[in-house]
Amino acid sequence: MFVSRPVVVMQLPESLDLESARSVLQDVEPLLGAHRPRIVFDCSLVRSMDGAGVETLLYCLEEAMKRDGDVKLCALSPEAAVMLELMRVDRVFEIAATSEESVRSFNAIPADADSQGAPWYAAVLGELGTLKQAS
C-alpha cells in the first residue's frame, strides 16, 4: 500500500521582496524540514519580486530537494514570469498553469511508490530495470 504525502499549496504575497520573503520563509520552513516535502507556490498574486524573492524560492527548492522533495510554481503572473526569466531561474522550477495541475503532477508518481532499496530507474524501466540490476 502506498501512502501519498500531502501537497501543500502556498499563496505568495503581492510583493516578494526581502521583507515578505522572510515571512514566507518562516511559514514554509517547518514544511521543508519534513521528509520529501511537496510544496506548490501559487504566484498568481505576485506583482513585484526582487533578487531576495527569487533567492528565497531557490532556497526552498534546494532544501526540498535535499530531502527528496520538490517545490513547484503555478499560475505565474506576467510580472513573476518576467522576473524569473530575467534571473534565469524559470527553467529551474517546474511551472504549471494552475495549482490543481501542480498537485496532480506531484500525485502522478506517489512519493513513496519506490521502495528504498530499488534503484531510481526501476519504476520507469520495470523488468528491464530488474535485468540491469541482475547483470
Partner: protein, 346 residues
Amino acid sequence: MEEQVSGAIIIVDFEAADTLALTAAPPPACIEVLGESLLARLVGAMQVQRIDVVTILVDDRLAPLSPAFDSITNIPAQWVKNPWHGATETLRNYKDRGMEMAVVMRAAAYAEVDVEEFVRFHRAQAQFATRAFDAHGPLDFWVVTTDHIREMEDVGREMETSPARYVVRGYVNRLTGPRDLRRLVTDGLGSRCQLRPLGAQIRPGVWVGEGAHIHRKARIVAPAFIGHGSRVNSNCLITRGSSVESNSEIDFDTVVEDSSILENSYVGIGLDMTHSVVDGCTLHSLKHNVTVNIADPALIGRVAARRKSSPSSELPLLGLAQHIICARYQRRSIDARLANKYSLCL
C-alpha cells in the same frame, strides 16, 4: 519650379509623452533610437530638405524633462501652455516674415515623408492645409499655406478638418508602444527604413558609437548597436537586433537578445534580457506584454544613480542574492538531482 517651404513647426505635446508606456519616460520624440533621438532626426531631416526655420514647441507640462530637450538639438525648444495655440502664433509669425508655406508636425511618430513631393501635392490641392495619411489613417503631419492665417481663429481645427489628403509612400512607424519602438530599431538595423545607426560599422551589421567600451570577452552578434559611451562587460552577449543606447552599461555575463536598452540604463550581472525594452528601472516585456518596475538596483536601474554611489558601496549594489545564486550554481557537493536541474540554466 522647385517647391520649397521655409518653415517647419515640430510639436511635442504632453499626450505623446505616455505612449511608450514606460514610466517617467520622455515623449517618443526624445527617446534615443540607434544613437539619436527622433526629434534630432526630424530636425536633421528638415534641414536636409532646405527648410530654413525650424520651431520646436513643447508642452510646458513636460518642463521636468527640459534638460533632455536642451541636449537633443541645437534649436532651443519654446515652452508653451498649449502647443497648438503656439503653432497658430508661429504660423502668423511665419506669414509676417514672408513665408508662404510651412510644415507642421507632431513629434509622436516616425514617418519618412518626401516633403518636396508633399508640398507639390498641397499646392495642386489649393487648400489651406493638406494632411498626410498612410494605409492606417491620418498622420499628424501637414503642409499649411499661410495666406489666410490671420483670419483663422483655430488653425488646429482647420488643419484637422482639411479635406486634402496626401498619401505617404515611405516608411511609417506610429510609435504607439514599446513594440513599435523595437520594430523601429530592428527595421533600422535591417535597412528596412532610412533610419541609420549613429556609429561606425565595425563588422557587417554591428554598429558602435563613439567612446563605447566593449570588453574583449563580450560577444556582439549582428545585427546589434552599441551607443556612444556605453559599456559592455566581459562574457556578455548582445544579439538579435538589440540596441544598447548611449551611456548604458551591460554588466558581466548578461545576455541581451531582441531588446532595447534605452540611454543611461544599467543591466546587472548574469541576467537574460530578452524581448524587452528597458528604461532605467522600468522593464517592458514584449513577450508577456507587461511593464515591471524593478526596485532592485542590482538588476536594472540608471547608470547615473550607480555612478553616484561611492566605491565602498559598490559591493552591495552588485546584489548579494545574485552572488549567492552564482555561487550556488558552482557548488560541486550539491545533490546530483539538484545539480542536474540547475545545469539546465547554466
